[in-house]
């Protein structure tokens, strides 16, 4: 079930009504969390619970075996990684691999080598396999003591707020919290409410009302060549994906806080970053951090020659792109990001531009946004051809016909609200600063009530969260 569905509302009411009783005793607490989380995930398709059990089971026992047979730690780590990546390959990338293998064979003049298997990836598979792998890797590195309790392990892995679309919570961040009796403080409850309201507003009001405009643009690729239309559509796409995913993360964190658990921040206004590197430090932070710690630093990061450091960056960023989806568009998206990050690293352009008085920071923010709008086309397009068509329209400057923009008008108020929100934060009106003002503290409940009313009545058509399919 999705956070913006009616069944989830009932699920949440039942869960939070029973939680104060269930949390008192440790084994009850873990059992309760596992049962509810499995129900939550099984709602998508109960057969996928087998995958969750398989992925988690391998890592749980591999970690225990590492403790018992330290001399075989490396073999066990490989076993765990192969099992998890194998599941990911089988359920997320198999269609991509078989299709491309056959295409390659055809290019070489041969026949199709293998039957193409159409498999729809189970919800959240990229998130929980990575979370599960991080557990084994941390045990392997000696950063974490493996748990003996299977219940506790699955309570960690399947905790429903973060199960299907992150944030990816590391075992080092959550295992200790699962041991104590969680008791949300008054402050945690308030912050939880704020995150939930902000999350639902971003998802239901902003992302879901921008989505039809983006869909409309995607369907108009073959017959609209107006440059302003495509720039506006690209801007809407960027904001839609941001609000969709940041909204999900906010809701997940809010639900966690109401349980008494703290999850890491996953989005920190990425469109206000003054460099592309900064953007990735603020976008889907837990996944970026995962790739940084386990891939980039695993390859020795930047503590090596300039050439190798650049190579490590490219591998990491292309893999990060490919993690998002089994399509060449995501590989190209990752490659473009790698090129731009390398240029940024070599030229130090953001640092130089930021020195321009008054306007420097603003110019940097706009430049980063432009880069993301251009490369983001590959993120959204169903095929490379579609992406190239859109890019051609954006960059050809052949037609400045403003008439097609009319078809996007209905989404413009929501785009303005989203941009204004970011502009306010850019000007220093972020929540931490505002909290210091007594007037804001008094007004905030009214603001939240208004946002709840908007989330109910101005919601868009309830689409699934974009990141579910990753």
């Amino acid at each position: 079930m999705t956070f913006n569905s009616f069944p989830f509302l009932i699920f949440a009411i039942v869960f939070y009504s029973l939680w104060p009783y269930a949390r008192q005793r440790q084994s009850w607490r873990w059992f309760f969390l596992v049962v509810f989380s499995f129900f939550f995930y099984g709602w998508f398709d109960w057969r996928y619970l087998g995958l969750l059990l398989a992925s988690g089971g391998v890592d749980f026992y591999a970690a225990l075996a590492m403790k018992r047979y330290p001399e075989r730690r490396r073999t066990l780590l490989w076993l765990s990684m192969s099992a998890n990546l194998g599941l990911l390959a089988a359920f997320k990338y198999i269609t991509f691999f078989t299709t491309n293998l056959n295409e390659l064979s055809r290019l070489l003049g041969g026949d199709a080598l293998v039957p193409v298997l159409y498999v729809f990836p189970p919800a959240g598979i990229s998130f929980y396999t990575f979370q599960s792998m991080s557990y084994t890797i941390d045990v392997y590195k000696g950063k974490l003591e493996p748990t003996d309790s299977l219940l506790k392990f699955f309570a960690f892995l399947s905790l429903f707020p973060q199960l299907v679309a992150g944030p990816i919570v590391r075992a080092t961040e959550l295992m200790d919290q699962l041991d104590g009796v969680p008791s949300p403080t008054e402050r945690q409850q308030w912050e939880g409410l704020r995150l939930l309201v902000h999350g639902y507003f971003k998802k239901a009001v902003l992302a879901d009302n921008l989505a039809p405009a983006v869909e409309h643009a995607a369907g108009a690729l073959h017959f609209i060549d107006s440059t302003p239309f495509w720039w506006l559509a690209a801007l809407m796409l960027g904001i839609q994906i941001y609000c969709d995913f940041a909204g999900y993360s906010d809701i997940a964190r809010g639900l966690g806080k109401w349980m008494g658990y703290e999850f890491p921040v996953n989005f920190d206004h990425p469109y206000l970053a003054t460099s592309l590197r900064g953007f990735w430090m603020r976008w889907n932070m837990t996944v970026t951090r995962w790739f940084r710690d386990y891939v980039y630093l695993g390859l020795k990061g930047s503590r090596t020659s300039l050439w190798r450091s650049a190579r490590n960056l490219w591998i990491t960023v292309i893999l990060l792109g490919f993690w998002h989806g089994a399509n060449w568009t995501f590989v190209i998206f990752g490659t473009l990001q790698a090129i731009l990050l390398t240029i940024e690293r070599v030229t130090h352009l953001p640092r130089r531009l930021a020195k321009i008085p008054f306007l420097g920071r603003g110019i940097c923010v706009v430049l980063v946004a432009l880069q993301m709008m251009l490369t983001g086309v590959f993120f959204r397009a169903p095929s490379v051809e579609h992406a190239l068509l859109a890019l051609q329209a954006m960059l050809s400057f052949k037609s400045f016909d403003t008439a097609p923009i009319g078809s996007l008008f209905f989404a413009i108020p929501f785009l303005i609200v989203a941009i204004l929100w970011e502009v306010l934060v850019f000007c220093g009106a972020d929540i931490k600063t505002l909290e210091r003002s007594p007037r804001f503290v008094r007004l905030e409940p009214l603001l939240l009530i208004l946002m709840i009313v908007c989330s109910v009545y101005l919601r868009g058509l309830g689409t699934a969260f974009v990141y579910f399919q990753f």
Partner: protein, 333 residues
Amino acid sequence: MRLGRTQATLLGAVFAVLAAGWMRPVSSVGGMPAELFFYRKMLWHHEFDVVCAGDSRTLLGVSPAAMRTAMSQRRIANFGFRLAGYSTRYAERAVELIDPATPRPLMLLGVDPHSLTTNAARNLDQPSTWMSLHPWRPGHFNAELENEFLWLAAQHPWEIRLQVQLGPLLAFFGRITTLDFSQLIQGNTRYPVMVAHEDGWFSSRFKQQGLERAVRFIPAMYAGNRVSPHVVAQLLKAVRRMQWRGIEVYGFRLPTDPRVTQLENQCSGFDEAAFARDLAAAGGKWLPFNDRDFRTFDGHHLGEDEAVRFSIALARKVEASRERPRNLSGRKP
């Protein structure tokens, strides 16, 4: 008992939401709430004598109530969905709506080129069906237009039931669309602009629109997405199965603007005469209509008044071309 800040805000929000619900503008969709309307259709089962299937043209263009005025059968349903395509599953689901006890069951297939394309019918007939059925929108991230039936069929049955049971309550919290606002601002005299009827018809009162837009997106719609021989073969197979079950099948094409019809045939490769012959060979009957006899509001769809006129004409044609039931001596009664 003293309420904390969080609880007080939540309580305040409940009151504010209820107050806003009372004060909200009239929805642009009259009759049943639009979302409930489609969910209800998914629960129909063995309760009709006549079923009309098809995509948005059927959804907007066939009024069962109007048909009843010219037909002997009373229980008629419009099982149209936006962008529905003739997948095997859709055709079979349409058959499930017919009451097995009805003496002369009838299936009316609204056929247009798009409903016979692979994109319109896709996903449900792929080999890994169990992997494709998901409670979120399949192909949500793809540029192809979506089949609304497919999306609803992928919902959890329990979710559909819940949605229907709590329909009136959910309608109170129905979303206010930008269309609602724009219609209010423009002062549309025929507000609400759409009405969802109990019998499955979605009548439309939109103002007359220019043809330019209607024509412009046709080439793109059929680019790489022409009428699929596979989908046509599947539909004809379904028609034969309907015949075996004793269901009379009629096919028809909803009237569209002549320019739209011509361009659609050209871009999609749809040959209406050939399809009519194939349908007849499969045991069905094709009912031809003249585009010039009816006026669409956007080149593709019939407005409320024209839909009523068309439905009566359709019902009369069906009645006229139906074989009369024979008595045991083989003579017409």
